[in-house]
Symmetry: C2
Subunit: 345 residues, 2 copies
Amino acid sequence: MRVKMFEEFAQVRRGEVVESRHLGVAVVANADGEVIAGWGDPDLVTYPRSSMKPFQALALVESGAAEAYKLSPEHLALACASHRGEAHHTELAAAWLSQIGCEVSDLACGPEYPKHQDTQFKMIRAGQASSSLHHNCSGKHTGFLTVCRHCGYEIEGYRNADHPSQQLFFNLLADLGAPVDLPLGVDGCTLPSPALSLGDTARIAARFAAGRAPGNRAAAMTRLIEAMGRHPEYTSGSGHPMVAIAEATGRRVVFKVGAEAFLLAFLPQDGLSIALKVADGNSRARIPALIAILEALRMISRAEAESLAGFARPVITNSRQEPVGQIVPASFVRERQNKPERHSA
Amino acid sequence: MRVKMFEEFAQVRRGEVVESRHLGVAVVANADGEVIAGWGDPDLVTYPRSSMKPFQALALVESGAAEAYKLSPEHLALACASHRGEAHHTELAAAWLSQIGCEVSDLACGPEYPKHQDTQFKMIRAGQASSSLHHNCSGKHTGFLTVCRHCGYEIEGYRNADHPSQQLFFNLLADLGAPVDLPLGVDGCTLPSPALSLGDTARIAARFAAGRAPGNRAAAMTRLIEAMGRHPEYTSGSGHPMVAIAEATGRRVVFKVGAEAFLLAFLPQDGLSIALKVADGNSRARIPALIAILEALRMISRAEAESLAGFARPVITNSRQEPVGQIVPASFVRERQNKPERHSA
């Protein structure tokens, strides 16, 4: 029996009518590489984009660079961040750059205005230009620069796929069981971006969540997930659902979003992961789908789900802030619960 | 044989991999109410949103209000507009409001910063708050207020579905052959927004394009389409694809976009229309799909299509403005060319 490429993830309703629809693929995996639930085709290959940041930050810890530079959990959370350019993000990134003897101009990511609106407006009012420091990936880039400093790599060209700092990242993915010679795209921030199937992404993320790796790598994984879980306001920003969900679940559910509506959730206590992609790349369906999956699989309680209702079924308002519609996730019933063979590794 | 709800509209490619996908429904109709081509289910009901603005502006002309207030083609183009809040939009809207003895505070649309970035940044730099005048629908609202003044209706409550100015609009849709008692949602700008099937939307738009109506209504339709075709920079804004396509086709293709990726094209010379909805509401697939359909149906020449290549297959860049991907529309082959009975009215 053929698996459908996509399943319905959410409906966007206005009044009584469904106005728009989002499809997607989601895979729940454990650290043994088993897919324990799924919707849509787990073999679909796409880019996890910034959902790969915890993997990109791993060399920063396991190389000893984080130790050598005495990086705090906030630094590690920022290395994994798609941040919103708020003061707490850019001040830490600037101090960190200075500590490793780098300048903002060493960051390969181009300039970007903060995604945090108040901060953006404040900059525009002050006549301040957009900068690479405010780019949502500046923490990740600073992490790569730190690895370069610590390992004695040239900083020049660190954005290129053949640079040793990128090779560390690719080798790590292979170590975790990802296919070798992954197709590479270029990310919005100029770094190489590997393409993986949803199934493979979920499998390596479950190993990351469970700390299933030899030597000091397991401890490095745990340190990064704990940093993201303890300081989600550094990995995302004020008011971001990552903060609310980490708090509501007592840090049991830590996730990292990626551009074009990717999401990768790490559940360290369960040793599980959820990889999720909204087919059309629209992020508005991503969090409702995540919460619905967590609820369907009983990974969060009814009470936890209720405390997240505003993120689970976001209300759509008009320009006078009156409610006119709602995003309603699919039910994500465990349709494949009894047929694990269709999705096994 | 069952028609699929959606067909593929466009792929979003990054490097060698398809990163995201857009599905949709499109219907091409003539003024006899015949569907001459289609992709996806023409019976799908959704909201045309701002694509209805030419219909909403019709009472402004046929009531005699436009004549009485000596409105120019630019005024009519603005009444049909989802504008970008540039100076030429807001100055005309402000002068028009003053001419009918109204204030900005009479506009029911809430405040909005201009969608035109330079104008928005200029306002923020000047410490200027967002206003209803800058809302992309301020021209439509001023049109409704003008009808109220001319017909002696109360201005109070013109945003409500039972207000006589809204009833004029609903009656017009019924006159053109739309089903009666359409479901109503509330638009982003607070006005009632009717839901129609793609097929019905295309049929009434083809009648509009062909001026297929009794009395002075036909002339009113022609006047509005000519106004939009001659002054697309008032109906949209600087650099908008509506301007480029109107110019490239010698005003043969005039279209009006709506929120959540609706598009309604009027081809007055051919007496045809195209109604198009990207299923997920993402507007980036809309213009590539439109141009691909125009090309597949030979409604534009190869040379015209080539002059629009930047809109037909938009390049995706990273934060350093380097090309990293492309939006690639489906081929839109006329799969139903020989089976018109599947889609006839």
